[in-house]
Point group: D2
Chain length 339, copies 4
């Protein structure tokens, strides 16, 4: 059960609801978001009925939710969420009819590489820039990112090209640093079940991209999102990026079905990353088109001005000219599937 507070509810109102929940032998999970406060009730709910709370001051209404991922479920919130990143002129919106493409290099390697790529993706219509400063790598001997210097370059590119940017965070201790630069934080595929990191980004005041663990079920993924929401961060984008299967001709297998399945289960916007899914440059366009046809609220695409020199994931980056084509096809497919 979830108790939704009025937007005008005071701290005292919330405390009164929590006391009441505890008196009834249950646990209360208070999530204070930017625009509203919601309280999840967990435990033996046999003695609970909605009317117990509805009459308390500051309570807007009460919902029964059977899914294990309460706050992020459609049961709790039937209307789709909109996630907004950035401010001023550099704003991107996703969900509930807002569609956008995030593009840029997988990793920030140099000012020149970043700026030349950013200029092209901006002019092609991307609404947001990607580029990582901290990279989780399978091998300890691979390039691990430029660190804070990379974030500085991204912030400069934002100024220059008017694109808010998203950057990965891999260590809970780095969340304040990355959040001080980036417009959106990313939790990568290997960290989807890194619960301390999820909780930390849940306390940050920036929206969060949560990539699917490449071996996570949709149910586990939504429970990971719940960790973030529960801490008060309600601005979450889900990013499908391929799952691990027996098929070896692609890096991962894009689970395009996840898009409509998630739309049925959750109010959160769903993006697709065709670059990491296929892992091959020539698959980026058809997979992007497929994702949009299936109803994705956005895309995230690796673009590099010179893939042959890329330090990370060179095989999957497309060049700016290919990105121009992709944007055009994607725009046509969106119109084709719009009601």
């Amino acid at each position: 059960m979830i108790v939704v507070m009025d937007s005008s509810a005071s701290r005292a109102h919330v405390d009164a609801v929590v006391r009441r929940i505890r008196d009834l032998g249950c646990d209360a999970h208070v999530s204070v978001g930017r625009s509203r406060t919601v309280i999840g009730v967990v435990g033996d709910r046999s003695r609970l009925t909605p009317d117990i709370f509805d009459s308390l001051p500051g309570v807007s209404h009460t919902m029964r939710v059977s899914a294990p991922f309460k706050f992020v479920s459609r049961e709790f919130q039937p209307a789709p969420s909109v996630v907004t990143a950035g401010s001023g002129d550099a704003v991107a919106r996703f969900g509930a009819g807002h569609f956008g493409v995030i593009a840029g290099p997988c990793a920030v390697e140099s000012r020149d590489q970043l700026f030349r790529t950013a200029e092209r993706v901006a002019s092609a219509g991307a609404v947001m820039l990607r580029g990582d400063a901290f990279k989780p790598r399978t091998s300890p001997y691979s390039f691990q990112g430029l660190g804070e210097r990379g974030l500085e370059l991204l912030a400069q590119a934002r100024e220059e090209f008017g694109l808010p940017f998203v950057a990965e965070v891999v260590d809970p201790r780095d969340v304040p640093l990355v959040a001080s630069y980036a417009d959106m934080l990313r939790v990568g595929t290997r960290n989807m079940a890194n619960f301390p990191l999820l909780s930390e980004v849940g306390r940050a005041r920036k929206p969060v991209q949560l990539k699917r663990g490449f071996t996570a079920t949709i149910d586990e993924w939504l429970q990971a999102a719940e960790y973030i929401f529960k801490e008060g961060n309600h601005d979450i984008l889900l990013v499908e990026r391929g799952i691990r299967t027996f098929e070896q001709s692609t890096r991962n297998t894009l689970d395009v079905s996840a898009v409509p399945v998630l739309h049925g289960l959750s109010h959160l916007p769903v993006l697709v990353d065709p670059s990491h899914a296929g892992g091959r440059r020539e698959l980026v366009l058809p997979l992007a088109a497929a994702a949009v046809a299936a109803g994705a609220d956005g895309l995230m695409v690796d673009v590099h001005v010179d893939p042959s020199s890329a330090k990370v994931d060179a095989a999957q980056a497309i060049v700016p000219d290919e990105f121009d084509d992709l944007m055009e096809v994607v725009s046509r497919v969106r119109q084709a599937v719009a009601v």
Copy 2:
């Protein structure tokens, strides 16, 4: 290496090439198709050069092919194949720009069920009817199909609605029977590696749909197609229908990447079956749209006038009104991705 014979080559010309191959210590695999004869050379090819064969009478040209699936590879035939089913007014074409939707009930249950469904899918623009008379079922206690009576009904529906039909064959001994009624044979997912069945349909004079084994790699799938082609049947449609993964929210995981990957490796047309992939009615439309956006040459869709009474796979059949919507969306997506 593959030796392609002139269309005017005689049996004696073919025999001469075969003798030459054997003299050089290799094996010859002769595939006599409807429109051309090709000869695969297998073994130690170190002593072979194309010019050995190019001068022989009846030889058109010679190709080196490194893929294990020789005849069905793009290396062998760079241009996409067109597969044609039916005759007279009831003709369907797939591949090389020809796109078509095959629709109908998963299993033929009665004349009424079949005809009512066929009428609706025909008027919505389907080019071919599906409906099985022999069903491979996990449980021996499930409905196994109407047998020959089902094929008779399908043939009557073809007369009535002008749609050629495809029917599954599960036993090599049934191939002549099914081929005497159907316009196209289907090898189902469980039989993709049933080599005696593949060889038998390879000797039939009807085109063949080869569904992907739900745990087959793309490479294994193309080698299965090679079994069919090798016996002389060059009219093969590949049908992606989802693979088995850890994700349990869908019946299978549609591997939409398989469409562009196959188009890179093979000249055969690629269809997608969104009904068996997702296994849920509400996923059929988004998955169909995704498949077409990814470049599929056609779709195969379960449609049933009354899914609640269906004896097989009830959860995934859409009703005719939903099929009308699907056809419209699919048509728009096709235009969106057409060059």
Copy 3:
């Protein structure tokens, strides 16, 4: 529900039970085995109670079975089955405390190869010979077996070394031929869901090895065994041989848990094939030991006198000296886990 007939029941008694079942609106599946006749009742069982049948002449007793695999379930038969192959001096037994190792070359290649291998595995204590005459191969260009000539050689080796033998059958039309030579038939991994083949071996009068499909769940596997049992063949060995997973360092992943899981669900004996599971010679011994420790009723092992010249699966065959070591370790592990 299953009705078990007395061993003295006549055909008329069986017919009377079947009539009674049909009168009650259900389907009857009569399985006439060598030692007993059992009748499965499928359909709406709401009007059925065991006492309806218990009073009919020739009926021994009635069982309620909830598993979808009725006849092969432990619910139906709590005591483990014993499967016997061969006759006279050349007999092998598996299950209910009987343990045995089947060994030999993956494919019969020549008299010399077969006999030299058979001699060594016999002297090391193998109870049965393996060696295939018909091989299902991924590529149509790979060695497909010696056919009937291979069966003749196996029969000669049986005479010479006193070992009954098992041989794979891949085509339902070949069942009578293979059954006329072999002491046990094998349905291979790719054919586990080849239902016409299952039904055909179900009608043969020889025991059957049913290998697990490399992507089949245990539940699907037992339903495949049900196809065989239902036709009257009650002598079925289940053979775990590895499943397909994301791990690529072994050919397949041996699912050693399947042994105790199957023993909980079914009365059929369970063997393990460590050769096809690991696909690497150095893994055969540890995997064999693990299988026996987990309670396997037997093993099937590829042994070849000269693996470097093997035409099929060379990497996984062990040599006779290694097989001697394996037999010794396996014997000690068996004693270690025996109660």
Copy 4:
């Protein structure tokens, strides 16, 4: 290439080697372990030959290593490692012939639960206690552990029963705290690719258990171990605990082949956790026996005095009487497979 320093080498010797490596255009990764210092050389090694370093003061010898996991490979260290946990009377050893069983509750719930379980596993012959104070849970609403209070109880149990203990660490910020109590740290399956955590435990002065990610390949697992080793912590135990596959009758699929495969690739000891692999109480004994038969250097087993009241993973915990049986069977199987 790896440069191994003499045990008497000074810091200045190490620095000289590092300078030399950098002068040659490569990167140096210095791992200062408790007993020796090793230096990995990464980059373009075309200009490197072992003799460049062999003459430098303090250098013992130089090894070429082709595996991506350098320090943990058998190429680097052919002899198996021994990992020692605890001190004084409470010592456990694993590897190179040392075998031990770690047992205890999945999570510490209370003093009573922990002590009653510890007493029984100690008397049955366990060499080490398990019990977690910080639990990573899929749902944010599940029991997350007692925190530091749990560690205090574990330390008291160590005093009482003479068993060193291992405890999971899920947050890099908690490493110093957990290391101040525990004799061994555990990185759990969900954190196998949590690189900041791996680096942090790599800097701790306690041995580390690294559980396999349930969807990690063996290669990725060894690269994760490399992250730990590289930071100077050379005392690493690998724990196989089942992988995610399509099979749903067990919680995970125990990859028993991983034991011999790892022994071929790495010098690190390999343990198996049969409790989390199977997820079912009745499978713990057969899977433990299988693991030992395959050559495991130890086991880790969930034991609970009252599984029905367990807050975490109740279905898989065995009771002390069952653990007694397990210890006896395991001991016999060890002897059976010992050379």
